[in-house]
């Protein structure tokens, strides 16, 4: 799917501020034909504003929006021909499901027979036959979500924009809809921009992920790239909850971290005395006795999560380190332990 080549949506140096708050601080982005690109980030990072700028709901202060190479910065939303699914679904409460889906077709003056057929096809696509005459209020959250998707797809949009479409669903349904959403997007092949704050959703659904923070894109890459090779401490922390350790190079491969000498293998040689920021994933941190490449720590908290547990550790000087261990760990809050940090588990962060 990725790298089909042709750019469908392009943002060039887009800025948007709300008063003092900068929502988009010079965003450049290119979405390729047929791909599903996710904007991932915490609330307030500018991901929804970015979506709204593409949709035409929000006018940027500076920069350009291009669709198929044409500058649409001045084109109102109703002329852009994009499909949008909202977090609240935004189904028209005074219309039946069928009329909701047919809304865009009526605006396009599609004939009655053709419109009815397309509404039927759209309902089949989202597996919702038999509710055409109901009101949105009579549907469950998952069903409303499908109607919203059908309504956006039935107009055959150039781009599908999804604003946290799964956020309002409960966990189980969210996982089902995530899989189904991916299938549907594959089936119709529509270029899609998806906004979420959920890293699992982003990693599981996307062809590419743009991790956003403070109105900027920190990293843009495949799910594997942003998870395995985060380029900034923020990405490492947000995608996969990695810990960031600051150390001083002590010659060779050795780095002094919180009072311990740790061997670290990076893809560049270290100059003795330089400060490095190292990223390590919780699943790479092991608890055990003192030994090579271990650092003394105190357990600050344990959270049992079924198949694994999260152990929050505090190192010398208050540095935090997160470890993920299988099952229930043999330590409890307050214990003094050693955390083993494998030398090839480190990444360097900007």
């Amino acid at each position: 799917m990725k790298g089909a080549g042709k750019t469908v949506v392009a943002l060039q140096g887009v800025r948007k501020a709300y008063g003092e708050t900068v929502a988009m601080d010079g965003v450049d982005l290119a979405v390729d034909e047929g791909e599903l690109l996710t904007l991932l980030g915490p609330s307030g990072c500018g991901k929804t504003t970015t979506l709204n700028v593409i949709a035409g709901f929000v006018a940027p202060d500076a920069g350009r929006v291009l669709i198929d190479g044409t500058d649409v910065s001045g084109t109102p939303a109703w002329q852009r021909g994009l499909g949008v699914v909202f977090q609240s679904y935004a189904l028209f409460p005074h219309m039946s499901v069928a009329d909701n889906i047919a809304f865009g077709l009526r605006e396009r003056h599609v004939g009655r027979t053709e419109a009815a057929a397309r509404v039927r096809d759209a309902l089949t696509l989202v597996r919702l036959a038999g509710v055409a005459d109901r009101r949105p209020a009579q549907l469950s959250g998952g069903q409303q979500q499908r109607v919203a998707l059908a309504r956006a797809l039935v107009i055959r949009p150039r781009v599908l924009l999804l604003d946290e479409p799964l956020a309002a669903l409960d966990r189980k349904l969210r996982q089902e809809m995530r899989a189904e959403l991916k299938e549907i997007q594959r089936a119709v092949g529509t270029t899609t921009v998806f906004v979420t704050h959920d890293q699992h959703e982003a990693l599981g659904l996307s062809d590419r992920v743009a991790v956003m923070n403070h109105g900027r894109i920190e990293q843009l890459g495949t799910p594997e790239e942003v998870y395995e090779r985060p380029v900034t401490a923020f990405v490492a922390d947000f995608v996969g909850a990695s810990s960031v350790l600051t150390g001083r190079a002590a010659g060779g491969h050795l780095v002094e971290i919180c009072g311990a000498l740790i061997a670290v293998r990076l893809d560049r040689p270290l100059r003795a005395g330089e400060m490095v920021r190292l990223v390590i994933r919780p699943e790479h941190v092991a608890l055990g006795p003192a030994g090579p490449n271990t650092v003394p720590a105190q357990v600050a908290g344990v959270m049992y999560l079924g198949d694994h547990s999260e152990v929050r550790l505090e190192l010398e000087g208050g540095t935090r380190l997160l470890a993920s261990v299988r099952g229930r760990p043999a330590v409890s809050t307050g214990d003094r332990v050693y955390a083993r940090l494998p030398e090839d588990a480190f990444l360097e962060a900007r």
């Binding site: 939303a77 949008v84 028209f92 409460p93 009101r135």
Partner: protein, 271 residues
């Protein structure tokens, strides 16, 4: 239990306090004599006959219907636009606008009436019914804005964005989405406007002539000159008319919806 009994007694007293004056007027209206005696000696409909056949009342009733209908129809679109602007769009100096638009509620009727009188005289429109219509539209505007504003605040902006993304130009979005979803607020606004306008007296007194005067003004003039129970009969008709209006509104729309107590999600029984 005594606290409960005391509570019930208080409620009964309050209800009595609210309804007894109306009940006295209704009883008096059936008085057979020209003197307002209480309790009445017998039953008669002669004052109803007098009220309904008195030419000045007939003319005033027609005036009232015209002024109330025209004033309400004028205030609804203006008030809806104002409510949308105040709630939705970042209007500059919003507080000033809101205060100005809602001021008819707080400005004393006598002051407003005098102002309108001077203005109308200056424009040479003293004899025109349009002055009365404009005055009523202005006076009911705060009620219209308040009612519609509740519906606007309940309206998810994403609905209008959704309509736009589906290809609807702004005028179409308004007609197909915004307006239908504001219907409960508009119905409440119309009901308030009609009741307020139909009962308006103080300001109307200043800008009415013998030809354009509305029912409350005609009733006042009558009371100044005569003391028979005609007024009680007319007041009874007034009370009944108001009750019928509220009852019809309740049956057609449901008062809970009219007053915006229920959400907008179940709006409209049919398309």
């Amino acid at each position: 239990m005594t606290a409960r009994a005391a509570g019930i007694a208080l409620v009964v007293l309050l209800l009595a306090f609210l309804t007894v004056p109306s009940l006295v007027v209704i009883v008096m209206s059936f008085n057979p004599t020209a003197i307002m005696a209480f309790p009445p000696h017998g039953l008669s409909l002669r004052w109803y006959e007098n009220a309904l056949t008195y030419p000045q009342f007939q003319r005033a009733a027609v005036n009232s219907l015209i002024v109330t209908a025209a004033g309400t129809l004028l205030a609804l679109p203006i008030g809806t636009a104002a409510a949308l602007a105040l709630v939705r769009h970042g209007v500059a100096a919003r507080a000033v606008w809101a205060a100005a638009l809602l001021s008819p509620v707080v400005v004393p009727g006598v002051a407003a009436g005098l102002g309108f009188l001077i203005l109308a005289a200056g424009l040479g429109l003293l004899a025109s019914r349009w002055v009365l219509i404009a005055v009523h539209a202005i006076l009911v505007l705060p009620f219209v804005i308040r009612s519609v504003a509740v519906s606007v605040a309940n309206l998810d902006p994403a609905l209008e964005r959704a309509a736009a993304s589906l290809g609807a130009r702004p005028s179409r979005v308004f007609r197909r989405v915004t307006l239908p979803l504001l219907r409960p607020g508009l119905a409440a606004a119309a009901l308030f406007a009609v009741i307020v306008s139909f009962n308006e007296f103080v300001v109307s007194l200043f800008v009415s002539t013998r030809v354009t005067e509305i029912l409350p003004v005609a009733m006042f003039t009558y009371v100044v000159n005569y003391t028979d129970p005609t007024m009680a009969a007319l007041s009874t008709l007034f009370i009944v008319a108001t009750f019928v209006a509220v009852f019809v509104a309740e049956r057609l729309l449901g008062l809970s919806r009219v007053f915006g107590l229920e959400g907008h999600s179940h709006a409209g029984p049919s398309r």
